[in-house]
């Protein structure tokens, strides 16, 4: 019982001393603000970090990072710093700032501050030790927070872009009443095939399509799962009452399909997109006739 109490008071005392040391540290960092900040900005330029930004910008950012850093040390809460790191990342990622640069500058700041502590407590080695005990975990945690914040922001942007690419990758276009075109560009992976099927079948539904031209001119190659999936998609479209015409099979794809023995008997294939559209128009009963050449009489009268 007595022991636990002792232990508790000891822990409390240690906590208090850590807090008081951090307070002392913060006071020191506030006092030395101008000088340390400049030193840091100089080191950043020297290490050729943040090359995408001007000197003034670096200095301005350095100032706010410094203040946030000191504040985080003082309060022991990281929310404000986290928010700032996210905000900073949002601003600098589009300018091409890399992860190693952000990690680099935060570590530089940590070292600059540590150096200044060395300088200040040079005389009293024990005190320096104790101050560093308080400083190091907090500083490392701050560095971690900023780096993780940056990486998370980057990942968020990457996810958003992936989403955008995915949405753009399979457009369903209506060219005529009841005639849809699906141009596919780029490699088709399993995920994309699924999406393609979904879009195609949904497109037939919503546009009440009778004929769909699936143009794969822009597809460099196809493997057998994807080819089989395409055949199945064509079959499913037929169950919805639509005809699918596949156009633009490159010689390579034609060879692969024949070699892997995909049953193309049920597929309606036409050489190019133009032929596909003509075939589709024929199926739909359209007939395209050229307009009469404008004669001189027409122009005058």
């Amino acid at each position: 019982m007595a022991n636990t109490q002792d232990f508790a008071t000891l822990a409390e005392a240690r906590l208090e001393t850590t807090a008081s040391r951090l307070r002392e540290l913060v006071a020191h960092l506030r006092q030395q603000r101008a000088q340390l900040r400049e030193e840091w900005a100089r080191l950043i330029t020297e290490a050729k970090l943040l090359t995408a930004m001007t000197k003034e910008e670096i200095f301005a950012e350095a100032t706010s990072v410094y203040d946030n850093y000191v504040e985080a040390l003082e309060t022991g809460t990281y929310e404000a710093l986290q928010a700032y790191a996210r905000n900073l990342s949002e601003r600098i990622i589009p300018r091409g700032v890399e992860t190693h640069e952000v990690v680099g500058i935060v570590l530089l700041l940590r070292d600059v501050l540590a150096r200044s502590l060395f300088a200040k407590y040079r005389e009293d080695f024990n005190k320096l030790n104790r101050i560093l005990d308080a400083y190091e975990p907090a500083a490392n945690r701050i560095a971690g927070t900023v780096a993780v914040g940056f990486v998370q922001e980057r990942e968020r942007i990457i996810r958003e872009q992936q989403e955008a690419i995915r949405e753009l990758s399979t457009p369903v276009l209506q060219v005529r009443e009841r005639l849809l075109i699906l141009p596919i560009i780029g490699v088709i992976d399993p995920q994309r095939t699924r999406q393609l099927t979904e879009q195609l079948l949904r497109g037939i539904r919503t546009n009440r399509a009778k004929v769909v031209v699936l143009d794969i001119t822009g597809v460099p190659y196809i493997d057998s799962p994807v080819a089989n999936h395409l055949v199945q998609t064509v079959e499913a479209a037929r169950l919805l009452g639509a005809n699918v015409i596949v156009t633009g099979l490159s010689p390579e794809i034609a060879q692969t399909l024949v070699n892997i023995g995909v049953d193309l008997g049920k597929m309606n294939t036409v050489g190019d997109l133009q032929g596909g559209i003509e075939e589709a128009e024929r199926l739909l009963g359209y007939k395209v006739v050229p307009m009469q050449e404008p004669t001189a009489a027409h122009v005058v009268g």
Partner: protein, 127 residues
């Protein structure tokens, strides 16, 4: 659950309203085959818009219906297969080969009208 069969001009329209048991399917098949000549129908439309699942038995029954009705001198159209259902049918290797399918009832009627007028285009069937 019985499937109501309506006569509309020269066509019979069977609209499936809810999931069907195998018994229901067999009954639908028998009723259609009997009534097609009773009312001298030229075409039969089976509307499956309400079905979320079409299993192998249902596929086979639909195929049988179409073939039997053809032997009885009429044409069959299966209409309203849902996109998801269509794809899972294909995935399971269930096909309605040689049988006309259409997007919805309207399309099905249009198809039968075209068929009735002699050789027209056959969008939606296998050549």
């Amino acid at each position: 659950m019985q499937v109501p069969i309506l006569k509309q001009g020269a066509y019979l329209i069977a609209t499936v309203q809810s999931a069907l048991t195998d018994e229901d399917l067999k009954q639908l098949r028998d009723t259609l085959v009997v009534s097609v000549s009773k009312v001298r129908a030229r075409g039969v439309i089976v509307d499956v818009t309400a079905l979320d699942v079409i299993d192998s038995f249902a596929t086979r029954t639909l195929r049988d219906v179409a073939h039997m009705i053809r032997l009885r001198g009429a044409e069959t159209v299966i209409c309203g297969i849902q996109p998801e259902v269509a794809f899972s049918m294909v995935k399971l290797g269930l096909s309605l080969e040689g049988i006309a399918t259409s997007l919805d009832l309207e399309e099905g009627l249009a198809y039968l009208d075209r068929k009735g007028k002699g050789p027209g285009q056959e969008v939606g069937t296998h050549r």
